[in-house]
Symmetry: C2
Subunit: 331 residues, 2 copies
């Protein structure tokens, strides 16, 4: 799945900052790919990009109109359809990360056909993958794995890739989720692939490379999550990681969406993930812990990271507060 | 996915007995659901059912015309299309377990529409599942798990369900693959479900039940297989098994399709599967080992099973040669 930046980010009449996660991710991590944001009346949130109309976006060079939403039902609001069609008529492709499909809306399909524009439903991959082979590929790979879902695996992966590039190392962020794909401009929404092809799709996403090149692969789900452990294990074996970074959110009381499941300990996750990963790469090593400490003060966060680092004998940091140089030094 | 027996089994011009696995499985395990088999000139194999024409099959009461093939490319041969249409015109639904879709063949779709018949592509589930919840359900569950793919998990599961029913216990076979679905008349092709919904689909397949009822859930893949471990883990957590039966094929030199991956030991598989399964059911127990011993003599098979049983402290049997009563006694 390959997209065509730059993007005009459509955030409709959103009032909840969490509902525009797709748009916000790309505005934060790849601002050069965003010409601006486009709102409807009533919108009270912002990505930080300049507000502009469709016509202004087209003039500013936008190639693709991005539905910037990640609402829970995954619904395309019918109120957005005239705006989507206006964007197509102004010369833009359209991208959506919602469950509802652009390609199921006849008037949008007709407009795209008429103007020769593509409709990309990131959550519905159309590529036919092979099953995994488990063969060793050249180059190095790092995978971020979570103690739970939504603990900051994408942010950690992007931080690592950026820090490595800044340090003059060869590194590429490999996107496995809708927001990551938008940031990178390409990738595979791995939780949307047919089950038989999870590992095979990741092998395609992270092919042979230079011996000193690192793929920084965005993790999904968690081996400790009853709903998504299968996705996480398939992603692990497709990645064949040399290095693992464990991502964790401080002070979460239970697994996301499942009040009856406690969080695992970091020690458990390290042991379980290393054991599982050794099937496809016996030399796998955990190289650091990345913690989302937003629930505590910066002082408390610093203390928690220092204690965890001492307990586990591994660098431990909050990527947003303290950067990831301590982890990059391990590679 | 619910089918409408009885079936007329179509085996085309097949000459390789392995290529008609779908048809052979249902003929072996649910002969009452099969009115006969339908061949084209050149066919040299048989399911053991009576050969008959489409018209004879229709007269004998066939409700569904089954493409009995499991060829490696998953291809629907265009030479079969006139016969498929003839079956529809004779009043039958059509079922296929191939990768190619019946619903992609315009003339077949047109015939089905005209005659009000359904086309079911087992490998392309159309149900929208929920993500897994990991909540405990009433009733008991047994899952067959493999040291590798294609080691006899379906045959073992069906043997167990039959033996339990014969012994007066409440047990239901739950199909998770194309051949099993045909035998049971319902089920979910779990390796064809979108990755996010593997566990959720299995939760739907095996709902709440009587406290003394056992679901015997057909396993898929293997936690030790680099390509399919994700599917196996999702299936494990969706099943929340109380009991596991480890299925193994004797004298296999490497993982199926992957000459560079050795087979795991039974001890490894027991340890790894029990540990993983304990996330969703801390009381899980391995209750037996089912071995496909077809590569050795019956004497050698008996010796192997006796030694394995003594080594592991678990019943060990070849379901086809020696039955599964020793395992059923453990439940």
């Amino acid at each position: 799945m390959v997209l065509s930046p730059p993007y005009l980010l459509f955030i409709g009449d959103a009032t909840d900052p969490l509902s525009i996660k797709m748009a916000k991710s790309v505005a934060d991590w790849n601002p050069a790919a965003c010409v601006g944001e486009c709102k409807l009346p009533g919108c009270t949130v912002s990505t930080g990009c300049s507000p502009m109309s469709i016509q202004e976006g087209a003039k500013a060079g936008a190639n693709t109109f991005v539905l910037g939403f990640a609402n829970s039902g995954g619904i395309i609001d019918t109120a957005w359809i005239p705006t989507i069609i206006e964007a197509i008529e102004a010369g833009m492709h359209v991208v959506s990360g919602l469950h509802d499909k652009l390609t199921d809306i006849p008037e949008v399909v007709a407009a795209a056909k008429k103007h020769g524009k593509t409709l990309t439903d990131i959550r519905h991959p159309t590529t036919r993958f092979n099953t995994g082979k488990g063969l060793k590929r050249s180059g190095k790979r790092l995978l971020t794995v979570g103690t739970d879902c939504s603990v900051g695996k994408m942010y950690t992966s992007l931080s690592l890739a950026n820090a490595m590039n800044k340090a003059g190392k060869k590194a590429t962020f490999r996107a496995t989720g809708q927001s990551g794909i938008l940031v990178a401009g390409e990738g595979v929404a791995i939780d949307c692939v047919v089950a038989d092809f999870i590992s095979g799709a990741v092998e395609t996403l992270s092919p042979h490379n230079d011996d000193d090149h690192w793929d920084i692969i965005e993790g999904q789900g968690s081996l400790s999550h009853p709903a998504f452990a299968g996705v996480s294990l398939g992603l692990l074996h497709g990645s064949q990681p040399d290095a693992l970074v464990i991502c964790h959110a401080l002070n979460r009381s239970h697994m996301r969406g499942l009040p009856h499941y406690p969080q695992p300990t970091l020690e458990d996750v390290i042991a379980m993930t290393t054991k599982a990963a050794s099937l496809t790469n016996p030399h796998v090593k955990v190289v650091g812990i990345a913690v989302n400490t937003s629930s505590v003060s910066e002082d408390d966060a610093r203390q928690y990271c220092a204690k965890t680092s001492a307990d586990l004998g591994l660098p431990c940091t909050d990527p947003l507060r303290f950067g990831v140089d301590s982890i990059v030094e391990q590679l």
